[in-house]
């Protein structure tokens, strides 16, 4: 069976009409690629870096705050070591990682290598379990509690971005990269700060700290050290148990999240659900995108169906002749399927190329015109291979939906009518 010449000549003689259908499919897919790449770009370039997502089965627990005018007070249950222990007993909880605060003042000195003079500042510290941030530690470094030697420190990734976009330009210093900062050492003075002074001169310690990585779970306005290190310092310098500032609760699975969240809230604590709200908003945007893609698919399919109905009506006599000289019903269906698929593939490819080109052009334009602001994204569009492939596949899928009925109609051509066509 060689239908190639028939298909080629059919496409050639109907090229104007088919070009209109290809254009319709292509323009829909162009818009889809453009919108989806912007949504994906905003998610990857803006939402994700600003609001690091936790795994679906991990909840961030904080003390509940009550707003009174412009002030916020802690209210409800207290978050302390006992509360962390009680969280572990909730059904569906696999592990709880407490985030510790410092019960003593602290300051830091250093930075000659970067800013040309020694900088002195108060710092705030939090302690997190090393396992929670293991993936953020730079290669060749460790984030473990060491009684002696350098104190490993993690810094918030957003802090570096703030420095690069606001501090560095104002003091006329170059921007810093994560690679340049990792390994940087500075002096940490425990038990003393410019704001609180020296509560107990006998309990002042000087330690060398070293930045070992950047983390989205690190303290935004200070440093983050291993929880056992901070616990030991709190005992030795402040002679107090470590204050708990928050906790990460790992559930035994995403299915447990709802029940565990309710149990935590019943205990008077709050679950930070901002990432989940953003996630839900993105899911809604995704669903709307899906609806748009579905509508687009149906419209394209409708256009293809309408065109092929017209073509088949015009070719009714030819189809009857083909049947009379030996074509089977399925041969005629196949002709329609193949021609529609070629139209769909062409529309899909043209749409993807145009959509990608427009998206890249828009990206370059926005990035070039956007001023240097904190958290300025590197891109506002993202063109993933999955997106491009899915969009390209929409063309033939629309063609197949649209061709189904015309193909069946073509197969019904009556061969006997060829004899009565005189």
């Amino acid at each position: 069976m060689r239908l190639g010449a028939l298909i080629r000549s059919d496409l050639a003689r109907s090229k104007r009409r088919l070009l209109v259908v290809v254009s319709a499919v292509a323009s829909g897919i162009t818009v889809l690629v453009l919108l989806a790449s912007i949504a994906l770009g905003l998610y990857e370039g803006v939402v994700e870096p600003l609001l690091p997502r936790l795994p679906l089965d991990v909840l961030e627990v904080k003390p509940r705050t009550v707003g009174v005018g412009f002030l916020a007070f802690e209210g409800g249950g207290k978050l302390d070591a006992a509360a962390v222990k009680s969280l572990e007993r909730i059904e569906g909880v696999e592990a709880v990682h407490g985030v510790l605060g410092a019960a003593f003042p602290m300051r830091a000195e250093g930075g000659e290598g970067f800013i040309g003079h020694r900088m002195r500042t108060d710092v705030f510290a939090t302690g997190v379990p090393p396992t929670l941030v293991a993936g953020d530690v730079a290669e060749g470094y460790t984030f473990e509690d060491e009684a002696e030697g350098k104190v490993p420190v993690l810094v918030a990734r957003r802090l570096l971005d703030l420095y690069n976009t606001t501090v560095a330009p104002s003091i006329e210093k170059p921007r810093l990269t994560e690679e340049a900062v990792v390994g940087f050492e500075f002096l940490l003075v425990l038990g003393q700060s410019y704001a609180s002074g020296t509560p107990n001169p006998a309990k002042v310690e000087r330690r060398t700290a070293q930045i070992v990585g950047f983390s989205d779970r690190a303290n935004l306005v200070g440093i983050t050290v291993p929880a056992p290190t901070l616990e030991r310092w709190n005992q030795r310098i402040a002679a107090k148990p470590s204050p708990v500032t928050g906790a990460y609760v790992k559930t035994s699975g995403p299915g447990q999240v709802g029940a565990v969240t309710k149990a935590i809230e019943r205990a008077g604590l709050a679950v930070d659900d901002t990432p989940k709200i953003i996630g839900a908003a993105l899911a809604v945007i995704g669903a709307l995108g899906g609806l748009f893609a579905g509508a687009l698919l149906l419209l394209s399919a409708f256009g293809i169906a309408q065109t092929f109905f017209l073509l088949i009506a015009e070719r009714r006599q030819e189809l009857a002749i083909l049947r009379a000289v030996g074509a089977r019903r399925r041969d005629l269906s196949r002709l329609v399927w193949i021609e529609a698929t070629l139209v769909g593939v062409a529309g899909g490819l043209v749409g993807v190329v145009l959509g990608a080109a427009l998206a890249l052009g828009l990206d370059a334009l926005i990035i070039a015109t956007l001023p240097d602001i904190p958290f300025k994204p590197a891109h506002v569009v993202a063109l993933s291979p999955t997106l491009l492939l899915s969009a390209a596949l929409l063309g033939p899928v629309a063609a197949w939906i649209g061709a189904a009925v015309p193909a069946a109609s073509a197969a019904r051509a009556n061969p006997a009518s060829a004899l009565r066509s005189a």
């Binding site: 030996g326 089977r328 005189a422």
Partner: protein, 229 residues
């Protein structure tokens, strides 16, 4: 001599405006290999309907119709299509060429529809041979739209013969042609029949041309003239 076509009591009726119209009312007919039979009769006497049944284009008949020894009533649609593609050749009054294809492509179409047809090169070569035989050698690349009526009918004959059919069915093949061209087309049928040994069943209004056939079968009122009512 073996029968290529054997009809026995073949009847066909159609529903028109809620009324049944009997077009064929018990046809008995045999066409043997290498024989040319002319079907003649007034308009509406059932010539085209009979050709549709014999050509495996219409399965809605009553009675028994055998083509090359196969009971047409028992064949499914795909098998009938295969039979048309491999064993039958059709020549229509209106030529029924595909206007968007070239002369050679039109002739090749039946070969394209065969599951085990020849490759592109062999197919083109065979089409050129057939065109040479019908006097259209060297015209392969032309559009069929540029041809005269007689030339178009010769392309149709080349198409009908390209599969070396056992039976050539022609429905008023000279109906749209002037008498001189019509006579040439009949000569062509006769020559091809002699060379290929195929049977020819041709429906025609033209009594003079019909006389060139081996046998003339007259249809009237849905019956073969002279057959018992």
């Amino acid at each position: 001599m073996s029968a290529v076509v054997a009809l026995s009591g073949v009847a066909r009726s159609f529903e028109e405006g809620g009324r049944r119209r009997d077009v064929l009312a018990g046809i008995d007919l045999e066409v043997n290999a290498g024989e040319m039979v002319a079907l003649v009769g007034p308009s509406g006497c059932g010539k085209t309907t009979l050709l549709s049944i014999v050509g495996a284009l219409d399965a809605g008949f009553a009675g028994r119709a055998e083509l090359l020894g196969r009971d047409l009533a028992k064949l499914d649609d795909d098998t009938r299509s295969g039979l048309r593609a491999a064993q039958l050749g059709f020549v229509f009054q209106a030529f029924c060429l595909l206007d968007h294809l070239t002369v050679r492509q039109n002739v090749e179409v039946p070969l394209w529809l065969l599951d085990d047809g020849p490759d592109a090169e062999a197919s083109a070569r065979r089409a050129s041979e057939m065109l040479e035989r019908v006097g259209l050698g060297g015209r392969e690349a032309e559009s069929v739209m540029q041809l005269s009526g007689g030339e178009r009918q010769r392309v149709a004959i080349a198409r009908a013969m390209i599969n070396r059919p056992k039976l050539l069915l022609a429905d008023e093949p000279t109906g749209n042609l002037d008498p001189k061209t019509g006579a040439r087309i009949f000569e062509l049928f006769d020559a091809i029949r002699g060379e290929e040994g195929c049977a020819v069943l041709v429906a025609t209004h033209d009594a003079a041309l019909a006389e060139r056939a081996d046998r003339v079968v007259r249809l009237d009122g849905g019956r073969v003239e002279g057959s018992p009512p």
